[in-house]
Symmetry: D2
Subunit: 428 residues, 4 copies
């Protein structure tokens, strides 16, 4: 049977190439988190003392995880290590970083109990996400599936008229395999997988879609697309009046409607089922009241004209992007999604989050920098082979945040929490 | 004459209350930047050596600007200083930070030559923004106007039917002044300025709009709105079946269509006129080719379904948000805007950027943290009275980035620049 | 107390100027429809025979309602009556027209039992809307409120730079009352109520907002805005490089995000509460299953990137626009809205529809043409004083359609209905 | 070489299966219209007299085109002919209809000089479109390409959890060919071409995409999808908790962001190049001023949050949909598009229109009704084999309207035209 054309089905087929259906389904089965000293420590909210910090660090550290840059004991001496990351260097911006967990994840790629580092300056955020992570883990964890991945560049070509433009398309499509070869000369990790063509009068837009291995891949696809364009210009018998390597149709670093209809980066969906008693005990509200909130918030979100409807995905995503060396500017496009709540037949609470546009990587970009590399190692995502796992952890973390904020809003505790954690105590 | 109802006109009127029209127009007049050793240093692209770093730091430092946390010479010992910013603290994420400038700004609030710190892990970004800043400054600087500001919370109330809902609205509107008093008991900086009401069947959405002084203000408006809601619930003769302090209609931390039709945070517009010779010398292309790019990119952007059409606003904005202690999650909503190019009658290049949704502050949030506070001091934006100035600097910086990336795309240098600055030299 | 600034509150205040709160609430109270021969006739689905047609016509006709053009007994002889409506005339397109009802409406302006004419070529549509109307009427009718109205033109002005542009805004705002006078010279029905100003670099957009009496008003506001622009150009000391009377920012005949944040035409919200037994008897499903549909359809709608989320508002609206002489092109902007379902505490079904953008009128346009005028008279909306009433009838009709299609989808009857009514019986 | 996956490339390949590239390019070559008495008549704007009407009718009529229903000489006696189009019939709504032309079209399917019937009640519309048609024809005509076609239904399925949902997807994808067979049992004209799968937590959305021959096809795809769903439910080992045949993700009768990223109905792009002298003579303005308008209108459109940016596509489209028996409710989704203007190297005016979402057909729906069938015959589009031709004529007509309105706005004649043609002369 041929590979299905649409991305979700294709993704599921790819999974079945490496796992049997039974294995895949077993991975997705809920499981309780294991007991651990850190779990027990983080279940009590602790002060901002040096002692508490060191206790947490000691419980997190092991022979593969040093955390010496994060805790300030090691110091960066030579800025040369930032080559490829910065120019006109003057120093290091320092962002406070906290930890949440355990977050039990039952994913295709992420599997186990995770302690997730979040870098932020917004008080309440870590506490809130930690509360959500706990409620999820107590309920057997978050199921997560990384469904698909691609990154695109969209060169644009301008012709005298539509006749030239359509001849150009004919030529391009019949040279797609050659374009793949040209792209392959620029990278060993990325692959040109597909090209979509849009004809708008005398303009031709090519959406070149790549897989990018474990890199977020924006640089990779830019350099490959430059080579593809140079090949096209050199060999196509029809020359454009002018062309640009990016026609602004790829959605790069922008929130766009592309998100729900195609994929940029990775598409991940995650869910959890929270029992009524856990909702009552940890979130101090009921599944029914959370459903009331969700119904109102969906109408509010639609009236605001947002792309997707959700609570505060940007909060957790920005915090993970910062701690783990992702491109913070990509929050603009990655932080859109759909959060759903429902009641199960037994009266428990169902929650899911779908992120269609998660631009992340575990190699390249800022992932090799000192503290960022340490944070990636905390969640077992350092280096090659970890990008899909990292994407699932991001999404499960966002799920925890959505659960917690909705619980706070439903319980009427939202303002109180921000008063407690979001202000210095000495201030009025 | 009464204050005009719409926000842009009202903003212009507020300006005329503190300046005469002549003074305001004089502020907006283009002026060349002054010579300085740092300007001359940054005009040559320098290596990532400790020496180059120290040279830059020495030229930036003065008696008001220490930079000792940024350069690593001072160390944070007690995490208690992060109270209100983080919980479950484990350490500090460190983000490389570079400097661009001089960026000449002729704004209503920002006036002079600025050296702007940018924290990022994306190679090329600082170089590219620096190139744009230089081209703008050589052309007499960027004109900028901070037009308006407000931050909202949108509580939602559910009733049995529309009859109850409309009675509730009647009561609310006739108690607006009382709501203002209640809000005022929670904050001395913010003020409830307006309420917009939306009736959708039996649901009532109140958009409570606040001015927030020099704070970004999300916490402030949450706490004030909680008090307003409690007042309403206690006194309204019509009680809702249930209500929530945020109905998801405020656009908080989300890209929404609200942006172009109302304002969240600050709305700023900035422009510059770049002479043909500077376009040719610094951007290696022509105003005409940049116009060709803009025309294609506008069509590409519209086809992608983006909110506004622009190049990579998120890049510069995220980098300033990080270095200057803003909320990184707000990139999701702030990084939308409209970038325009045009040819002047003389054949020079006109560029403008409009950011309708700039959530920024110079007090509260992360603005008082060690490196963040130092970065704010670098641009003269530390503390009270600086939020509008900071908003204009953000927008002028974004203008520099939009100019530079469009120049690179028009000149065909985009991929080459990322190959040079975005990869480690030792890598293939 | 001053008039509230936001439109919904202002609308409710205007209502209270003509009614006491008690009177207004009494109008909105549910009431059962009265018995009538036509109600009884339409409760049985009847054939397409001449006899059935004449029976319906006889029951609809009275001394004020002739229907002789609609039934073909009167013939238009002189095309001169189409002056102002058509050029290059060649004849009359004929659209089959059916009737639904009774539709009980308890509105601020529409009050009573309505028989609504729908012109369409889509089989099933009339039957489906009729079924919804019946279920609503059996439940005491639809509550409806016409909340607000305005129509805008958005002239745009281009200047050399932002300094000129801001001077221009200062001048405009200080001459608003003069603009109102100028607008008033062109029309006795419309009034310039407000101007909103947008500054985007060196471009100034003025959104001139008018009330238009009982006309849809697009021509009226165009002619008034032309006069306003000529006044501005003649008297403003700052002249634009060029200007256009419509900058494409008014949303004229386009689906835009403006809809939920401002108002074009009229904003109307309507609701009904359908008892469980009526849902079961007429829609052959349960309130719970309709809620399941609604929850899924909201997610589907958001994923499709629609403006608002609803079922098939365009169907009923287009059919009423055609029969009643509205501008069919305005379906493009009017047919967006939000449909909500909910369960009441007693387990009955709540439904509401909100149309934020209903461009309709009962004078001008096609409202005076032969069949169109007859159709308007059928619902008591012929001529002056009827526009808000007509808007409420449109919305209640749409409510009936949304109820019926959702019922069909929830019951699994959607395809079957289209197979029965949407195909000729002689066809396979 | 395999068929390309993306729709535009695939469409171009399909064209090359029936034409050589040379033949296809020859079809797209510009050609002047032929002289004719009707062309000469319509070049003078004529009065609304019976004589003028009859003159036009006589010039349009030939042995294949009778027009006797349109001119009122034939009368519909038996409403049974409306079976499948209406229920509860009471009579015929009559819409004035005018003619424009010649509109020279050089399309892949539409080829020649067309006289296009437009049904509307908006004065000025026919005159304005006629003016545009003339300017285009004088310039050698409009080039047009119908690129692609498909219509979708999007059933949705709800499961207990993501594990069940993913098993269901695996089953569906491996039974796609069986689904095609099942769909084929319900229709001989349509074909299930593709299925796209979206997984959002425990919800599965299947976008079933069909080709529909010469029908608009909404009924066809509903009935086929019902059969597909029944097959799935009967045979899938994993049963959904519930499912609905349409999950609101198909965009049916709604303006959605789907339009630019996929295709509903037909996607057509058309263009023309208008010489400077014709712009001056017929539109009374210059190519440069029209470009100024376009640049401002694009910014205005983006600020309004419209889907695509264009002038008044809905006007011409609604008028053709009415006269030619299309579904008027589909204006809601079809009337979005992108209009582009540019200057050629010689200083002439380039214009293109792209309609991504044109739901039209020439069989089924209202296409066989008396006047509608006559109007289709006027443009040679009656019956099978004409849907793509009709789609190209629609788009070229819209092109004429966009040219004319932009010319009027650029020349400052927009308000004047509406004053002349949009009001009765006897009214003030």
């Amino acid at each position: 049977m041929p590979l299905p054309k649409d991305s979700t089905s294709a993704a599921i087929y790819r999974i079945l190439q490496t796992h049997s259906l039974e294995e895949a389904l077993d991975l997705l089965q809920t499981r309780d988190p294991k007991d651990s000293p850190l779990a027990s420590h983080l279940s009590k909210q602790t002060d901002l003392t040096v002692e508490a910090q060191h206790l947490r660090l000691n419980l997190l550290r092991n022979e593969e995880i040093s955390l010496s840059y994060l805790d300030g004991s090691a110091k960066i001496e030579d800025p040369q290590i930032f080559e490829g990351n910065i120019e006109n260097y003057i120093g290091l911006t320092q962002i406070p970083t906290g930890i949440i967990g355990p977050l039990r994840i039952n994913g295709l790629y992420a599997h186990g109990d995770f302690y997730v580092p979040l870098a932020t300056t917004e008080g309440t955020l870590v506490t809130s996400y930690n509360r959500g992570a706990r409620a999820i883990s107590m309920s057997g964890g978050a199921t997560a599936m990384c469904l698909h991945e691609k990154v695109s560049r969209a060169p644009g070509f301008c012709f005298h008229d539509m006749r030239e433009a359509s001849q150009f398309i004919v030529w391009c499509v019949s040279h797609f395999e050659k374009m793949q070869e040209v792209a392959a000369t620029t990278t060993s990790h990325g692959k040109l997988e597909n090209v979509n063509t849009t004809l708008t009068g005398n303009l031709v837009f090519l959406n070149l879609e790549y897989s990018t291995g474990d890199a977020a891949g924006q640089n990779m696809v830019t350099i490959a697309s430059e080579a593809v364009c140079q090949f096209i210009i050199a060999h196509s018998p029809i020359k454009p009046r002018h062309f640009f390597i990016e026609s602004n149709m790829s959605g790069d670093k922008k929130a766009t409607a592309l998100s729900y209809l195609s994929v940029r980066g990775k598409k991940v969906t995650a869910e959890a089922c929270i029992s009524r008693s856990i909702v009552q005990k940890y979130l101090h509200t009921t599944p029914e009241m959370m459903m009331e909130y969700w119904k109102m918030s969906f109408v509010g979100g639609v009236q605001s004209g947002s792309l997707g409807v959700q609570g505060h995905i940007a909060n957790g995503l920005a915090a993970m992007f910062l701690s783990c060396g992702q491109d913070a500017a990509c929050v603009a496009e990655a932080a859109i999604g759909i959060t759903r709540f429902d009641l199960t037949e037994k009266g428990d609470l169902y929650i899911s989050v779908t992120l269609p546009n998660l631009i992340v990587g575990t190699v390249g970009g800022g992932t090799g920098l000192p503290t960022q590399s340490e944070c990636l190692s905390l969640i077992g995502c350092k280096g090659s082979g970890c990008a899909k796992k990292f994407a699932e952890i991001c999404t499960a973390t966002v799920l925890a945040g959505e659960l917690s904020i909705t619980g706070a809003l439903a319980a009427g505790h939202f303002a109180k929490a921000h008063k407690t954690y979001g202000r210095k105590k000495t201030k009025s």
